[in-house]
Symmetry: C2
Subunit: 254 residues, 2 copies
């Protein structure tokens, strides 16, 4: 089904660029013959997935995608439930607040409030992180897996070094995961990105299952190692409130 595949490629291409693209550039980038591309862009435009700007052949993503994105109800309950708590956290800490969840075995950022530190952490809503072992939320998910599943996952992705602080051996990781279970939060110390720390806490749903993670992210100059436990208490508090709002049985684990 070349038409469909190409259409999805076009959409991905438009999503990957930060500017609108002219017909010819799409054509060359994806190696699609002109008449075919014309048909595809015509249909996508008609359906609102793509918009033509300037009436002179520049294309960009269309508003229909905003609508479709808004209609993903499943994980969006978590999102809407968490929103007010995230805002409170953002207000009290001034830091970047992130909400993530698992979807199709991928860790997805589903909401974010940028802190006032002027440091952009350039993760994008909807983007997936591949490195579970290098991310607070990923470590939390790993910590909640049964041992076998975890081993399988780790075997598949390995433990690539993302920064020089990334945990690189299984024993150390296992120790850290136990620690996470015991303390009820994860600490990420420049393991995904040099100069950025995170404190992350798990959110549970009404079945007691891990529904997602909320995290505070900040550059190291305003998130020192000493701040760790304070901020951890703060995120844990927020996570507990969100879990409660999700209908989780109130349980005291730290």
């Amino acid at each position: 089904m070349p038409a469909l595949e190409r259409a999805l490629d076009v959409i991905d291409l438009l999503a990957s660029r930060d500017r609108d693209l002219p017909f010819s550039e799409i054509m060359h980038a994806l190696n699609i013959p002109k008449p075919s591309l014309a048909r595809i862009l015509g249909l996508l435009t008609e359906r609102g997935l793509v918009t033509k700007t300037d009436e002179r052949g520049l294309y960009k993503l269309g508003m229909q995608l905003l609508y479709l994105g808004g209609r993903i109800e499943s994980k969006l309950r978590l999102r809407s439930v968490a929103r007010p708590h995230m805002e409170e956290l953002a207000l009290t800490t001034g830091k970047t607040i992130e909400l993530s969840t698992l979807d199709r075995d991928q860790l997805i950022l589903i909401d974010q409030i940028e802190g006032n530190e002027g440091v952009r952490l350039f993760t994008r809503i909807g983007s997936a992180y591949p490195y579970f072992h290098a991310i607070g939320a990923g470590k939390i998910y790993l910590a909640h897996m049964e041992r076998n599943k975890r081993k399988e996952v780790l075997r598949k992705i390995g433990l690539p070094m993302v920064t020089k602080h990334t945990i690189a051996n299984v024993e150390q990781l296992e120790r850290e995961l136990s620690d996470i279970v015991a303390k009820g939060f994860a600490f990420e110390d420049q393991e995904l990105r040099e100069g950025v720390r995170r404190a992350v806490a798990p959110i549970y749903d009404s079945h007691g299952k891990l529904a997602g993670c909320i995290g505070i992210a900040s550059p190291i100059f305003s998130f020192t190692y000493e701040d760790k436990d304070d901020l951890a208490q703060v995120v844990k508090g927020a996570a507990r409130k969100i879990s409660a709002d999700m209908g989780a049985a109130t349980q005291n684990n730290g």
Copy 2:
């Protein structure tokens, strides 16, 4: 290109239902032969636009759409700029706050904070309103058009009665539009929906062009005719702040 067209139909179908759909239901609803649908769903699933739930053949929209939705940068600057001001409005008024803009000659709701009145106004982010003359934001857009363009638009859509309060004749509408220009806000009195009032103000960008509208919506029992001017001042204040943040020259028009 049946594959593409059908794929888009599948996505729209999944978006239109509030539950996950089984293979067979999609098949019958859209009249797609089994192998074709299998191919389409396979590809859409692979690309993350659709997700299979429960491992037992239920389909729903996938997270990739969240990502794509988040990548619509064009109008999203307005959205992120407006967010904090919307939140402040929501906090001080307790009412539903709406942000809308024009895209492809359609009025689109691009952000929304629900009020605590328990009354759902059931408009969805990303959805388009067809009736310019029956909506605060639509009237503002009409008021900003040059006379000829406005006539053309009105000729195309007519003035259908949406509720018994909808403005139904051109003279009355023109009078109201002049009023909007003079006062710097629009009042919508159950013209789109029985029992709902709105106060809406225009937001301008750095070129002085109309960038969007911010509105306060509320059921009539907590938004009486007498509240009108107070709430108008409040939205206008917010709109002014957002315009300023958008880089508009600070101008005092009311």
